[in-house]
């Protein structure tokens, strides 16, 4: 476990030190959420109604676009080669990196979401539901995005490719995240079933993501 922890701590430290790390994703989230009223108009009643969906969309974009550099920087400076010679299975190494990424980028999104909820006139109770579903759902976004990050580094392409590859895969997460939130706010379906499915999606991607990403890296780095 020392190798796992060492990699986890290194990645957290790197994001905290260089490039504003955690704050950049939250800043992107803030800007996306701010742009929506400019497109839809400042009607608070409307914003309050669709606010949870806007927050979910913003969080999805922010967590996926932030994944762009996850493997690229390690690839460029040769760290990835050395990581591959470690005794830690690549699946676990990739998990450590994804976990570090979620802690420094996904978790801040969950934390700032209530503040952004104020801008969108989301009621207190609805905001709790959004925060809870984001907490349960953002790990799924990170671990699904992980696959895209691994594919894009092996294809030597970054940026939009990752989003194009991964966004279709995030559809279920978005569906159940938003429907769990709406269930909590307005009903008529109960909150339980969609939320449980959301948690299940997170747990599933926690398993599938690292295996797929490790396979992609092994195949692609030849």
């Amino acid at each position: 476990m020392t190798a796992f922890n060492a990699l986890l701590m290194r990645d957290i430290r790197l994001t905290m030190r260089a490039g504003g790390g955690a704050l950049m994703g939250a800043l992107f989230f803030l800007i996306v959420v701010t742009l929506v009223p400019f497109a839809l108009g400042p009607d608070l009643a409307l914003l309050g109604r669709i606010g949870p969906s806007i927050l979910w969309l913003g969080a999805l974009l922010a967590s996926l676009l932030a994944l762009d550099r996850l493997f690229t920087s390690d690839f460029e400076d040769g760290s990835l080669d050395v990581l591959l010679t470690g005794s830690l299975p690549l699946e676990l190494a990739v998990t450590a990196k994804a976990l570090a990424h979620w802690l420094t980028t996904g978790l801040p999104l969950v934390i700032v979401a209530p503040v952004l909820g104020l801008l969108l006139n989301i009621e207190g109770g609805a905001m709790d539901a959004v925060a809870l579903t984001l907490l349960a759902g953002t790990p799924a976004l990170t671990f699904i995005g992980l696959i895209g990050a691994a594919l894009s580094v092996t294809l030597r392409r970054g940026g939009l490719l990752l989003a194009v590859l991964v966004m279709p895969l995030t559809v279920p997460v978005l569906i159940f995240g938003v429907s769990a939130t709406n269930a909590a706010v307005s009903g008529p379906v109960p909150f339980g079933p969609p939320f449980t499915i959301l948690c299940a999606l997170s747990l599933m991607s926690l398993v599938i993501g690292p295996f797929a990403a490790a396979t992609a890296l092994r195949q692609g780095l030849e």
């Binding site: 190798a3 790197l14 260089a18 400076d77 080669d81 050395v82 990581l83 591959l84 010679t85 030849e222």
Partner: protein
């Protein structure tokens, strides 16, 4: 202990870089891989490190242990795997912990002459110093097989002789060094393997 390659072949991008290659390197021996550009020196090292798949043949470290070959090699590639945002010491501590060493990182830094600046951000280092920091990882985490791709690149004369001393100590301790190089890297008794000579 012995590293044995048995008629190995490797293809990259549809082109055969080497084929039918057999050699063995025993503990305490060094092997210099030479050859013109594109002869497959780097590919051979990467294949031994498990970073490139072989298309034929087998590679093994005898006697077989419970650990795979990749877990027993140090790969020093063209890039230094140094993070500028971390301090010199933090860089080395990370790799030592990750590669499963319990070696003393301070001693390793002293061996490459970076012990006085262990607290500085690695971003302040020159290219040669980054290379030395990269070499320190081989000293700190103990692994029997060293794969060095142009290890003397961007090293000045004193640093090159430091590296020669480090490699000598590794060989005396029963290690194996396989180096791909154009230059004389200061190994006293090294066998040579010329790729693409045919």
């Amino acid at each position: 202990m012995k590293l044995v390659a048995d008629t190995i072949a490797c293809t990259r991008g549809g082109r055969e870089v080497f084929a039918g290659l057999s050699f063995s390197v025993a503990a305490g021996e060094a092997l210099l891989v030479t050859g013109r550009n594109g002869a497959g020196k780097s590919s051979l090292l990467r294949a031994i490190a498990g970073l490139v798949r072989l298309t034929a043949g087998t590679l093994a470290l005898e006697p077989d242990g419970d650990r795979s070959l990749a877990e027993q090699v140090h790969y020093l590639g063209h890039h230094d795997a140094v993070k500028p945002a971390l301090s010199v010491g933090e860089n080395l501590q990370f790799w030592t912990a990750y590669l499963g060493g319990n070696g003393d990182t301070d001693d390793a830094l002293a061996a490459v002459g970076l012990d006085a600046i262990g607290h500085l951000p690695a971003g302040t280092l020159s290219a040669g110093q980054k290379r030395r920091l990269s070499i320190a990882r081989l000293v700190a985490a103990k692994r029997p097989v060293w794969l060095l791709d142009e290890p003397t690149a961007s090293l000045d004369a004193p640093a090159q002789s430091d590296l020669a001393g480090i490699m000598d100590r590794h060989l005396h301790g029963g290690g194996i060094v396989i180096a791909a190089t154009h230059a004389d890297i200061g190994l006293k008794s090294a066998r040579s393997l010329r790729l693409g000579a045919a």
